[in-house]
Symmetry: C2
Amino acid sequence: MSTIEDVAKLAGVSKTTVSRVLNNHPYVAENKKALVHKAMEELLYVPNSTAQRLRKQTTQTIAVLIPRISNPFFSKMVEVMENIAADNGLQLVVCQTMYDKKRELVYLDLVKTKQIDGVILASLENDWNEVNDYTNFAPIIFCNEYDDRAQVPTVRLNQFEGAYIGTKYLIDKGYNKIAKCRGNNLSGLVTDRQRGFYHALDEAGLPFSEEWTFTGVSLVEDGRRVLREIIEMENRPNAVFTGSDEVAAGIISEAGRLDVKIPDELAVMGFDDQQIAGLVTPGLTTIHQPVDQIGKRSMEVMIDLLHGKGRMDEQLTLLPLHLVERGSV
Amino acid sequence: MSTIEDVAKLAGVSKTTVSRVLNNHPYVAENKKALVHKAMEELLYVPNSTAQRLRKQTTQTIAVLIPRISNPFFSKMVEVMENIAADNGLQLVVCQTMYDKKRELVYLDLVKTKQIDGVILASLENDWNEVNDYTNFAPIIFCNEYDDRAQVPTVRLNQFEGAYIGTKYLIDKGYNKIAKCRGNNLSGLVTDRQRGFYHALDEAGLPFSEEWTFTGVSLVEDGRRVLREIIEMENRPNAVFTGSDEVAAGIISEAGRLDVKIPDELAVMGFDDQQIAGLVTPGLTTIHQPVDQIGKRSMEVMIDLLHGKGRMDEQLTLLPLHLVERGSV
């Protein structure tokens, strides 16, 4: 392969001049420019990767969209992603939507202004129709979250199965009045979990009371509130499928404070298997999400796309979940 | 002030052509280029701020160096920083050193290659002498961590006082054999905490056994190990100053598992007041660090520096700590 020196020699100009021509420097005489271009063509000269990167204006920067970094599920995911990014010379920009639609679009605009090379969507506040256009500007993939209409690579967990095995476990242990918590949005992840939950109830012929659905529940404090609401009910559930270890930890902590016996008076099923699950008393029985694996796999898929090795269509990586028994059920 | 339209009109070319000349686009005829340059000079035309930003090659990107994002102290700090960055149109790159000196320097190199505009050091693995040179390339400030030799803006807590009030509280409650944990490095933060701890012991005329110092201790699992080592000791401490809520939570959880009574057999003092402190049983008595405030103030200082409003010398913001009583002492 020919070098910049070869080009300079053949064109009869300095290396600096060749470099200026490559970088479209304004002050190069037209005749010299022509000589350099002619030499480059004759030598089939290809600029090196650094120069190409500069010309192509890539930033070596990936954005990951999450609701908030202080949720331990997402901080663990970002830890894994950033480690792999760093090993590959990439920077990771953390973008917290804070559950805000407008803010999500401001982050996505970074692909239009070429400030980032790709986006990993680990949360989605807007409808996919609002987001789809951005895929024309840079690789966008889903991690954990998903939408059936999106024709983009997706690395996710089998949420239907996760909710199903968690609910079935409660039923098999003899609980027959099972409450359910969820956040505010209704993404693919949330609706699949709902389907799994109802499927297990239907199979067992168990009733479900709308009174036992708690929405807008995602923080420890929300869990405390749920426990207080449950103990005020006339028709009290005897178990709760929380969909979140943080919510479950809030329920267990508040139960300890108000002397409600877990699991005798209320069984609590978490979701995630965060560190907190092993630290509350009783320990939290929960659905283990392999957050390391989805973080790792997502970043690998993104890196492949940036290197032109991956496919931009809706290839799916589906990872399994399993139940971890502790003391809360 | 003249506009791009004025330039186009005077030069007798289209706005697109002017824009191409400004961006050194390769396919502009030389005569048109000359006309545009002449018009720009005549009109004293100054490109708008976006163009200027491109020319100055600022990235609107700040890097924050932390040991690892999955430590709740740092994830909360980054949450606050990123919110303020986003409000100011800045991106935040998360750089996890994972306690590795080489990796820290790779991140700092980003200021040399102009890939970031500034660095917030919330951890420091290398000696300050290794890092000082980087301050020639971009604003670097300390947040939480610090070094007395560094002539850079620093936002930090009074760690001496924090360790002193925590240790004195243990002494005032009647504990007279107090163990201590710390991580591996010996930064300004760590040595100040040591000084505060020993100062409280000295004041009370209490002895300290080297056997009761646990080093390389920073995770929940390390805390579990500390508890197991303590109960094997012939001369057992009756209290432990952990310097970390995660370590303290590990000690409390392991104590529950091995039926060691907290605080009767061992009092446990945390540090941070993370969410976990309110969720373990018994609740963790700890030193509250105002992580929101140091995160917020640090990002404000950085933004001032980027806007040329701050001072680059060693201005210090020192925030107070206070003790939160729960059940572990």
